[in-house]
Symmetry: C2
Subunit: 268 residues, 2 copies
Amino acid sequence: MADPMWRQIAEDLRLKIESGELGGGGRPLPSELELRDEYHASRNTVRDAVKWLTTRGLVETRPGRGTFVVTKIDPFVTELSTGIGAGPGAESSAYISEVGIRRRTAEVSAPRVEIHQAKGLVWDELQVAEGATVVSRHQKRYIDGTPWSLQTTFYPIRLVELGATRIIQAEDMPDGVSAYLEETLGIAHAGWRDRFTVRAPDRAETDFFDLPDDGRIAVFEIIRTGYDDSGDPFRVTITTYPADRNVFVMNVGEVPAEARVDTPGPDG
Amino acid sequence: MADPMWRQIAEDLRLKIESGELGGGGRPLPSELELRDEYHASRNTVRDAVKWLTTRGLVETRPGRGTFVVTKIDPFVTELSTGIGAGPGAESSAYISEVGIRRRTAEVSAPRVEIHQAKGLVWDELQVAEGATVVSRHQKRYIDGTPWSLQTTFYPIRLVELGATRIIQAEDMPDGVSAYLEETLGIAHAGWRDRFTVRAPDRAETDFFDLPDDGRIAVFEIIRTGYDDSGDPFRVTITTYPADRNVFVMNVGEVPAEARVDTPGPDG
DNA sequence: CCGTATTTGTTCGTATGTATT
DNA sequence: CAATACATACGAACAAATACG
């Protein structure tokens, strides 16, 4: 059986968009009423077609304005370290070096510090008793003023009891909490495990990153568990990035310097 | 202003689904006509609500059957190596060890070998002349019989001319092409760069992974560029995985063995 | 195998609200 | 304020897929 009419219209629009026949130069697509006449369909049918293009991320509609082709933005390139030498990531100043594209300015909000009872993933990763007290430090991170990532780190309260009292203060620690823990308690950050997933954004992420309500743009989630030299976990960091504007780069072994954080060209 | 009615219905359904009140035990949600009566709305409005849940991946609808809650499948866990010692990944036999969850069987299709003219990304990465000849080896990879990933590797034709003639044969190379290149031409795989992105699936991926047509499930794309000990690139591998059923793990430094490829518990 | 009831999919028409120009 | 464009909501009819007796 042939595709439904809305699908055929969507396909036709897609081709005309990709060829530049429609929507070029920031001009809107024809209005729904114009498309209705052009395709001899009802307005609801052309709306179904446009809706499909919207879900695919090709266009976006604005009330009172029209339907516009989405121009893909230049992605943020983040380099993931693959060795202890590079450091597991400081809280603010050092993470800037993770951002590959220079000429961009990174900012970090003051941390929001909270006390929780460990459960679920955090409990599982930190290997504390269920319901044990943990400290979380939550930060919003920006590049060039646009929301870039949300980050929350969980520490067992034990670290505070042992004397690392600054982690329950709502002040940014530019050199990183890990460096502070090593200075104060002698905890060496011997290794970490990163876990990468992609999932639909929750409400907080949708709001912060200004993602569409329909959840079509996923978030990239990196869960980093840090271990000391006894093999015991002492922190869990969960960082989320909008998947539509982030690229991650990992270099292993000898990689020529000039290629390390290059931006990809068009697909081939 | 209050949320539109379809949004409120969707939210109510979401809560009832997550509490288990609806859709438990493989039972379908109430039919559209039942929901229409329950919420005193039109059928189209409840369809809008269900459509939103569908886009969020919470439910799926089947013609003639009903609307069913989507049960999230156990993800495939792939460990990414962070050192040359672990090896950059062989073509078939060795990659099985990448898959963290044991008791799963991995299969690989015979490679489809093609000759192309380099352009776009491949040209950019391999640093050959534009339009230069490259060889591609494309494989479909399965775990437990379900489609797991699509992989294409590009090599400059120069390698074949130098004597590595087996890479243009459509036979699987269980020990990996890299090992073969080292044996045959003495090319040492000194390092590589991985680039991670998330994007909407193309038609081939939608078909192979059996993803929904609306593009709501993204694919995870890893572009690996391999360099020899002179710092020259000699291969580009593009691997895509469906984002809804894959997790990637990277261990850096000293990480306790028992935690290396663990599956995450429920979120907290 | 056939026919019927059920359920979702498609398409149309219409009216009204809201945002922008 | 008026015109334009998209958003929401309702009602209706038929098609297609599925389940069941």
